[in-house]
C-alpha cells in the first residue's frame, strides 16, 4: 500500500509548480486542472482490491520507472518524420500529437474553420468557446476513474474539435507519436469533441512509438454528441511490448444522436480501455465494437459501460478476442438501464478464442436493469475453432494452418463492419492476417 502512495506522491508532487509554469494563475482552466488533481488524490490509484481494475493490477505494472517530470522528456519526432506516417488521404485532416501534446504546426488541416473547429485546448480557446469549460471533465462516469482525473490535471496542449451544425466533416486522423528512445515518457493527450446538431464526423486515432523504453499513455477523449449528430471514433492500438496505456472515451448523447467506437488492440504490455457511453436522451444509438488479437505477453483490458438514462434508445456491443501464447484478454461490459429508460434495447456479445494453454481470458458481462419494459441480453463464449469446419476446408486441399487462419479471419472480420474508412480497414485487415501467419 505504501508503494501505491509513494507512486501517487511522485506523480502529484510536481503538479503545483508545473501548473504555474504552463497556465495563468487564477484562470478557469488552471482551476479545472487543480480540481482534477484533487479528485485524483481522493480517488487514489486502484489498489489490489479494486473491482474495476481486478484483472489489471495497474500499480504493480506501472511501477515507478517513468519520467514523471514532463519537461525532462525529449521528443525527437520531427515534422517530416511525423508526416511520413500520414495516411495518403489528400482531403482529410491530419492532426499530430507528440508525447501527448497537440502540435498544430506539424498537422495538416483541410476542413474550413466554419465547418470544423480545430483548436489547441488552452486558455485562449476557453474564452473563445465557453462551452469547453461546460463539458471538460463533466461527462458522466469520468469522475470515477483516477486516470481520467490525472489526465485532467496534467494535460497540456490538448485538442478541441467542434463540428458545426449540419456539417459533414472530412475524415480526421489523429496520430499519437511517443518517443521512448532516451526516456520513459508519460503522455496525457486530451481531446474534447463537440458534434453540433445534425453534424457528422469520423475520427481515427493511431499511435506510433519510437524506441525501446517504457511508455505510459493516459489519454481521455470526451465526446458531446448533440441532437441528431453522429460521431465515430476508431482507435488502433498496436503498441510495443513496453507500452502501458489507460485510455478513456467518454460520450454523452443527446436526442436522436448516434455514437460509434471501434477499438482494435494488437499489442501492449498493459492496455486498459475505459469506454463509457451515456444515453442522456431519447432515441439514441450507441455502438461499441472491438477486437483484441494478442500474442506474446500482451495484456488488454476493455472496460465498457453503457448507461441508459432515457427511454427508447438502442445500444449494441460486440467484442471479439483471439489470444495466443501468454496473452491475457479482459472484457468487462456493463449495461445499465435506469428506471426511466423504458423501451430500451441493449445487446452485448463477447466471443473469445484461446489458441494456447498459457493464454487467459477474463470476462465479466454485466447487466444492471432497473426498468421493466426493456429487452436486454448478453452472450459470451470462449472456445476453439470448429473442428468440423477445419476438416471441411482440409478435405478441399487447404493446409491446416491456412484453414485456421481463414476461420480466424472470418471470426475477427465481424468487428470491422462499422469501420467506414477503406484505408484503415485494409491496414487492420493486414495486421490481422499477418498475425495469423
Amino acid at each position: 500500500m505504501s508503494e501505491v502512495i509513494s507512486l501517487e506522491n511522485s506523480i502529484t508532487s510536481r503538479f503545483d509548480s508545473w501548473v504555474k509554469q504552463h497556465f495563468a494563475e487564477g484562470s478557469a482552466l488552471a482551476a479545472a486542472k487543480k480540481a482534477g488533481v484533487q479528485s485524483f488524490q481522493s480517488l487514489g490509484l486502484p489498489g489490489k482490491k479494486s473491482e474495476a481494475y481486478k484483472y489489471t493490477p495497474v500499480t504493480k505494472l506501472i511501477s515507478k520507472n517513468f519520467d514523471f517530470d514532463q519537461e525532462a522528456v525529449i521528443a525527437t519526432w520531427s515534422k517530416d518524420s511525423c508526416q511520413q506516417e500520414f495516411y495518403p488521404v489528400e482531403d482529410a485532416n491530419h492532426l499530430v500529437f507528440v508525447n501527448g501534446q497537440f502540435i498544430e504546426e506539424y498537422s495538416v488541416i483541410k476542413s474550413s474553420s466554419q465547418e470544423l473547429t480545430i483548436k489547441l485546448l488552452d486558455e485562449q480557446a476557453t474564452t473563445e468557446h465557453p462551452e469547453i469549460l461546460e463539458h471538460l471533465g463533466k461527462t458522466n462516469g469520468i469522475s470515477q476513474d483516477p486516470f481520467a482525473a490525472l489526465n485532467l490535471g496534467f494535460f497540456n496542449q490538448g485538442l478541441f474539435l467542434k463540428n458545426a451544425k449540419n456539417s459533414d466533416a472530412q475524415d480526421t486522423f489523429i496520430y499519437q507519436f511517443l518517443d521512448a528512445s532516451s526516456s520513459s515518457p508519460i503522455a496525457y493527450p486530451r481531446i474534447l469533441i463537440v458534434g453540433e446538431s445534425g453534424s457528422r464526423m469520423k475520427v481515427y486515432e493511431k499511435t506510433f512509438i519510437k524506441g525501446e523504453a517504457k511508455t505510459l499513455n493516459i489519454s481521455v477523449v470526451e465526446a458531446v454528441v448533440k441532437s441528431n449528430a453522429e460521431v465515430r471514433f476508431t482507435k488502433l492500438q498496436n503498441y510495443t511490448n513496453e507500452a502501458f496505456a489507460v485510455e478513456g472515451i467518454y460520450a454523452s448523447q443527446e436526442k436522436d444522436s448516434r455514437f460509434y467506437t471501434n477499438t482494435f488492440s494488437f499489442k501492449g504490455a498493459m492496455v486498459r480501455n475505459n469506454i463509457y457511453i451515456n444515453i442522456d436522451d431519447e432515441n439514441c444509438e450507441g455502438h461499441m465494437n472491438g477486437l483484441y488479437q494478442l500474442s506474446g505477453k500482451s495484456h488488454v483490458d476493455n472496460n465498457t459501460s453503457v448507461d441508459h438514462r432515457m427511454p427508447h434508445s438502442f445500444s449494441n456491443e460486440l467484442y471479439k478476442g483471439i489470444l495466443d501464447e501468454s496473452a491475457k484478454g479482459v472484457f468487462n461490459g456493463k449495461i445499465y438501464v435506469r428506471p426511466d429508460a423504458q423501451k430500451t434495447n441493449a445487446f452485448q456479445s463477447n466471443n473469445n478464442i484461446l489458441l494456447s494453454d498459457t493464454a487467459t481470458v477474463n470476462t465479466k458481462p454485466q447487466l444492471e436493469i432497473w426498468a421493466d419494459d426493456v429487452q436486454c441480453s448478453h452472450g459470451c463464449t470462449t472456445g476453439q475453432l470448429d473442428e468440423e469446419a477445419i476438416f471441411y476446408l482440409r478435405a478441399r486441399g487447404i493446409k491446416e494452418k491456412r484453414a485456421k487462419a481463414l476461420m480466424l479471419n472470418a471470426f475477427a472480420n465481424e468487428t470491422l463492419q462499422e469501420l467506414k474508412n477503406d484505408l484503415v480497414k485494409e491496414e487492420i485487415e493486414d495486421i490481422i492476417t499477418n498475425k495469423l501467419g
Partner: protein, 481 residues
C-alpha cells in the same frame, strides 16, 4: 383503483403463512458474542477439546475480518452483540424416541406440514428437524443405519463419530473462508450430518427442516454431507421463521464431499420470513454452501428455490477437482416488496473433462432487487472443460431491478464456455394470447412464470416441487400491472 392495482393490493396484503411463533421454554445464552459464549456453547454440547479450539480459532479470525460489502444489497449494519447465539427449546433430558419429544415441538412441525411421526409420512423422506439452535428429532434413523448410512444431528455426530467430523469439518469451507463462514464456525450450534458409505444408494430423500422460533436469536447451523465412493444421496432443506419486526440473522454453512463416482443432489426451498410489505423485519440469509467433487466421475447438483428472506447472500458452489466430475446449479430466485437477493454460484474447474451447467432464473416484483452473481473458473490443467450458463430475469413492475454479474475466467484453450443472459418482462402479447383463449390475466401470468421457471422446478424432488410451485404462485400472485 384500477383492477391491476387491486390485484397488486390483494397480493401485497397477503400474509406470510408461517409467520406465527410458539412459546416454549428455551435454554438461551446471554446476548452478544465473546470467547466465553463460545465456551458456553461448546460446553452445552459437551464437545471435545479440539472442537472448542477450532471454534476459538475461527472466532479469532472472525474478529480480524470485516463484513463484505461487495454484494449488491443494502441493509443496516448487523449488531453482532445484540444477538443471542444459542437458544434451544428446553428438554429435561435428551429424548430417546419421538414419544419423549415435547408434544409442543411436534405440533409446531405438524403445523408446518412436516410430520415427525414416521408412520404418517407418505413417502420415504427422513427428516432432521432443527428449531433455533438445536436438532429436536431425526426420523428413520434405524432404517438408514441398516444400510450403514449415518443421518443425525451435528451434535450427535460429534459425540458418536468424532473421527469423521474431525476429518471432514472445514475441509470444503475452511473456518476462515469468509466473514459469515468464520462466524458460523465459531458459534454453530447444530445442524445435520450425513454419511453415505461406499456403494450405497440412499433409498429415501434425506431432509432437514430449519425453524427459527425465538426472538433476537441468530441461527447458525452447519450441514456436512459426505458421500463415499459410488454412493448416491438426495438431500432436501426447508426453512421458515416467525414474523418479527426486527431482522434476524441466519448464517449457515453447508459442506458436501463427494468421493469417486459419488453423486449428491442438494435441494433447497428457502422460505424464511421476507419482512412485511414495507420492508420491515425479515431474515438476513447469509449462507456459504460449497461442495467438492473430490473423486473422479463424481457429481454435485444444487437446486434452489429462493422465495423468502429480506436479504439473501448465497452462492452454492462446486469445486470440480476429480476428472470427469460434474457440477450443476439450478436456481429460481423470486423477490417481492423490499426483498434483496444476491445469489449465484461458483464453478471451479480443476480436473480434466469437467462439466458444469448453470441455469438461473430471477423474478423480481415490487421494489425488490434481484442479482445473479456467478463465477466460472477454468484452471490451467482443466483440459476439455465445458460450461453452459444461462441467466434469465423477469421483471414485474417498474420499481424493481434485475442484475447480472457473471465472472468468466478461462486459462485453458480447450475449454468451451457459453454464457447468455436475458432480461425482459412478460409480454403484453403473451398475456393477450392467453386471454383470447379464455385464460384470465392472473392465470396467464402464473402460466408464463411457471413456464419460465420450469427448467429448474423439474429438477426438484417431487415432494418439494409441489411446495415450491405453490410458493411461486403465492409470491407472485397479482404482481403484474
Amino acid at each position: 383503483m384500477s383492477k391491476d392495482d387491486q390485484i397488486l393490493e390483494e397480493f401485497t396484503s397477503k400474509e406470510y403463512e408461517h409467520g406465527w411463533s410458539v412459546d416454549f421454554e428455551a435454554d438461551e445464552a446471554p446476548l452478544g458474542i465473546n470467547e466465553d459464549i463460545i465456551r458456553f456453547i461448546s460446553a452445552k454440547k459437551e464437545e471435545p477439546e479440539w472442537l472448542l479450539e477450532w471454534r476459538l480459532k475461527a472466532y479469532k479470525r472472525w474478529t480480524e475480518m470485516t463484513e463484505p460489502r461487495w454484494p449488491n444489497v443494502t441493509y443496516p449494519a448487523v449488531d453482532y452483540q445484540g444477538i443471542k447465539y444459542y437458544s434451544a427449546p428446553k428438554q429435561d433430558k435428551k429424548p430417546k424416541s419421538l414419544d419423549e419429544v415435547d408434544p409442543e415441538l411436534l405440533k409446531t412441525f405438524e403445523r408446518l406440514g412436516i410430520s415427525l411421526q414416521e408412520q404418517k409420512r407418505l413417502t420415504g423422506v427422513a427428516v432432521d428437524a432443527v428449531i433455533d439452535s438445536v436438532s429436536v428429532a431425526t426420523t428413520f434413523k434405524e432404517t438408514l443405519s441398516e444400510l450403514g448410512i449415518i443421518f443425525c444431528s451435528f451434535s450427535e455426530a460429534v459425540q458418536e463419530h468424532p473421527e469423521l467430523i474431525k476429518k471432514y469439518l472445514g475441509s470444503v469451507v475452511p473456518a476462515s473462508d469468509n466473514y459469515f463462514a468464520a462466524l458460523n464456525s465459531a458459534v454453530f450450534s447444530d445442524g445435520s450430518f450425513c454419511y453415505i458409505p461406499k456403494g450405497v444408494r440412499c433409498p429415501m430423500e434425506l431432509s432437514t427442516y430449519f425453524r427459527i422460533n425465538a426472538a433476537n436469536t441468530g441461527q447458525f447451523e452447519r450441514t456436512l454431507i459426505v458421500a463415499e465412493e459410488s454412493s448416491y444421496v438426495s438431500y432436501l432443506e426447508g426453512c421458515t421463521a416467525p414474523m418479527r419486526d426486527e431482522n434476524q440473522l441466519h448464517a449457515a454453512v453447508v459442506e458436501i464431499y463427494a468421493a469417486k463416482d459419488a453423486e449428491v443432489k442438494y435441494s433447497t426451498v428457502q422460505n424464511w420470513y421476507p419482512g412485511d410489505k414495507n420492508g420491515k423485519g425479515g431474515i438476513y440469509n447469509f449462507v456459504t454452501k460449497r461442495g467438492i467433487c473430490a473423486g473422479d466421475n463424481s457429481k454435485i447438483s444444487w437446486t434452489q428455490v429462493e422465495t423468502g428472506s429480506a436479504v439473501t447472500w448465497k452462492y452454492p458452489s462446486c469445486i470440480l477437482k476429480g476428472d470427469n466430475s460434474q457440477g450443476e446449479f439450478y436456481s429460481v430466485a423470486v423477490t417481492n416488496n423490499y426483498q434483496q437477493a444476491d445469489t449465484g454460484t461458483k464453478m471451479i474447474h480443476i480436473g480434466k473433462n469437467t462439466k458444469s451447467r448453470i441455469v438461473s432464473k430471477g423474478i423480481s416484483a415490487g421494489k425488490s432487487q434481484n442479482s445473479y452473481r456467478g463465477q466460472v473458473h477454468i484452471m490451467k490443467r482443466a483440459e476439455n472443460a465445458r460450461n453452459f450458463s444461462q441467466c434469465d430475469s423477469l421483471l414485474m413492475g417498474d420499481k424493481c431491478g434485475a442484475h447480472t454479474f457473471p465472472y468468466i475466467d478461462v486459462e485453458n484453450s480447450s475449454a468451451q464456455i457459453e454464457h447468455e443472459a436475458t432480461t425482459s418482462k412478460i409480454g403484453e402479447d403473451q398475456i393477450f394470447y392467453c386471454q383470447q383463449r379464455g385464460i384470465d390475466e392472473e392465470s396467464a401470468v402464473a402460466l408464463i412464470v411457471n413456464g419460465f421457471a420450469k427448467e429448474v422446478m423439474s429438477k426438484l424432488p417431487m415432494e418439494f416441487a409441489v411446495e415450491a410451485q405453490k410458493l411461486l404462485a403465492l409470491t407472485l400472485e397479482g404482481s403484474v400491472g
